[in-house]
Symmetry: C2
């Protein structure tokens, strides 16, 4: 269908209609059938590795011909390692507990009725993502296990890879007696399809946009369907007066340098005035050795200069910036109040950490910092579905409604009240 | 400010700015302070009963002068009974457990970090409602206890009553050392203020519209802020082949006739073919005695005719209609599959019940009916925050994201992840 003129609205309506029908079957699917579909897909991915790589080669050639940079081409590649990790990921999702149908808090009320809550799927999840084709498999796996149908819209640069992967998922679903249309890939690269999809609450219950900030901003602005998303990861570490210096250095180093591109990497370091001269020289020498550019306030600059460490002055814009690169902004603050104030003003409600041995300040930071993950004496890099024990994640939400923080199977579900009676009426 | 030309955008921005500032203080407010504010407001309401009734008299006179019908004027009246019930309601909210700060699921991960979830307020709740001024107190009470700030926009017909009530809440907040701006009433009756409010995500985190369907439809269509709402309550009772007939009659009678206007009242009765002739005559005689008009399909009509019970033919539109009146539509279905299909097609995802003694059919109905409350052998009239043990409710949600079913304190909160470490870094 690629590159052929089609009626986009009619096409999306058809896909949406099929997804809605499939979602009803998926909602009542047995755990064993869903797990069988995941395992069969994993087996198919291993079996068809060469087929997948042939399809992927079309996308890679097109990307190289278009002059895309090597990092872009790397993200696109279905290497043997990526293929094995997709298959293993599906098998791992199969081992997770099925959230659907779980009844919690079932209690007798004075009237004699029992009231509880049953976990149910959301329905149809639309996922819009860029380049990495393995998202196709991760997202499909999480949606299958959580009893949802999904409509996937990957980047046009990965269309052949995504279609080949989706064909194997659909084979897996069919082999388990589940509806193939529970997983559909949008088969046109026409951007209008995204516009249709995100404006179709009759077909889609929630949209998960994954990718660059501009993609996510555009989708959340135009969507008529609720979204689960985060825009920025402007994460902070605050080193308190009462910090253990060794922990402070270890955490602030790891939060910045373990990897530069993830959203949970620290972008701004805040240091209490009274401890700054003790901790910054050692820490900034590590950053310097690793080639991290430091953009700092005047207090930090003078401490660093005294130790022959170079830095550049931070501008107001730096405090607002998610670098995703070996760049770090540093600011000396009077104490915890100013740190919380700075995070509230410049942060993105993603992940923020305090390093302190002071109980009361740890408790205050936990309660008063309004971010999706708040940490004491741990690296911000832990903000992740696997590290939190969710088993897998479809993304991270910095919104407050519905899902917040790393979103795993539970974030793709809702609850309904169940009432068990024996003939009760209301009086 | 009423009736004077003002800059609505600037006014709403000012209110919103104050609410946002107050919400930060409320988020960290101690349970004791919030409870003290609730009790002080309750005391002030009892003390100032006459003042409230004088303010209310302005609204009542205006309503009578405008020729409003007696039911409308009744809803508006702050009688002694309404005043006592508002005060008692606040005291009851003070007895509820504080949801804020609760940490759940705090578990060690293999890395040594502890990961859990802390319940936090949403921030600023906008509540848009009609006529009944007691909503001002109920909503303010729930928002205070859940650590939120609230902006209240009641109907213009109740503006004097609402302002008088809000003044007492603000007095209660101040007496407990909490920010008065945690509860603000929009002081202009200009409709443009609603438009501004629902389009201001920078000031408002969620909008709860309460009132007639047209109000709610308009608000959810135009809102740029998430809403918690239900549009319709087209609730069903399905009497299964395996129903206990006595329970069936009792529940179907109560679900329709205990009160006609609530959203959880049954609007359509579905009856399994094999049991219809046994249950409908007795049941419909009760309806006839209570003056309930029956709009029925052909099968029901012939059963009723054989028992000299009158009915009118149902049209397709009847199955879509929330009567909120002594009118009931009745349809005979082949069995549970057709019942679930009918509810999926015509229902509003509010509350639906099955009457059956058959275990497997009860389980299927619970799992497969996709409504905010699903019941076995109980009257749909139980779908209510008090009956479910939530303590109070701010409304009922038929949406799937965030809150679903009766919304109490928990529905006005979110969670964040908390991570407690002892120096861990990610490797």
């Amino acid at each position: 269908m690629d590159n052929q003129p089609i009626d986009i609205a009619a096409y999306v309506a058809q896909v949406g209609h099929r997804a809605r029908a499939a979602s009803r079957e998926m909602a009542r699917a047995a755990t064993a059938a869903k797990d069988a579909a995941l395992k069969a897909t994993a087996a198919a991915i291993r079996r068809e590795a060469r087929t997948l790589q042939q399809a992927n080669e079309h996308d890679l050639q097109a990307a190289r011909a278009a002059g895309e940079d090597p990092a872009f081409v790397d993200r696109l590649a279905l290497t043997d390692k990526v293929i094995e990790s997709m298959a293993a990921g599906l098998e791992q999702i199969a081992t997770l507990a099925d959230p659907i149908g779980e009844i919690t808090d079932l209690r007798y009320r004075p009237t004699g009725i029992q009231v509880g809550r049953m976990r149910v799927p959301l329905g149809v999840i639309g996922i819009i993502y860029e380049s990495r084709p393995n998202v196709t498999i991760d997202a499909a796996g999480l949606c299958i296990k959580s009893g949802n149908a999904t409509i996937l819209r990957g980047g046009s640069e990965a269309i052949h890879s995504n279609q080949a992967l989706a064909a194997l998922v659909r084979e897996g679903l069919a082999s388990a007696g589940l509806p193939q249309d529970a997983v559909q890939v949008i088969e046109t690269t026409d951007r209008a399809a995204v516009g249709e999809l995100i404006a179709s609450p009759q077909y889609v219950d929630v949209i998960v946009p994954r990718g660059g900030k501009s993609l996510i901003e555009r989708i959340s602005r135009d969507a008529k369907v609720p979204t689960i998303k985060h825009l920025d990861g402007i994460c902070h570490v605050y080193i308190d007066d009462s910090a253990d210096l060794q922990k402070a250095v270890r955490i602030a180093d790891n939060a910045k340098t373990q990897r530069y591109s993830p959203c949970n990497t620290m972008e701004t370091l805040l240091v209490a005035e009274s401890i700054a001269a003790k901790v910054l020289p050692e820490l900034c020498r590590i950053y310097a050795d690793k080639g991290v550019e430091l953009r700092v306030d005047a207090s930090t600059a003078s401490i660093l200069a005294a130790h022959q460490l170079s830095s550049v002055p931070a501008t107001e814009q730096d405090w607002h910036t998610e670098y995703l690169a070996p760049i770090l902004s540093i600011r000396v603050v009077a104490g915890i109040d100013e740190a919380i104030e700075h995070i509230g003003t410049y942060g993105s409600s993603h992940t923020d950490a305090i390093v302190t041995e002071d109980y009361s300040k740890a408790m205050r930071f936990l309660r008063e910092v309004d971010s999706s993950s708040v940490m004491v004496n741990a690296s911000t890099r832990f903000a992740d579905g696997f590290e939190y024990g969710l088993g897998a994640e479809i993304g991270i939400s910095t919104d407050k409604l519905h899902a917040r923080g790393p979103v795993g199977l539970e974030g793709l579900t809702s609850v309904k009240y169940v009432v068990l009676g024996s003939g009760q009426i209301r009086t």
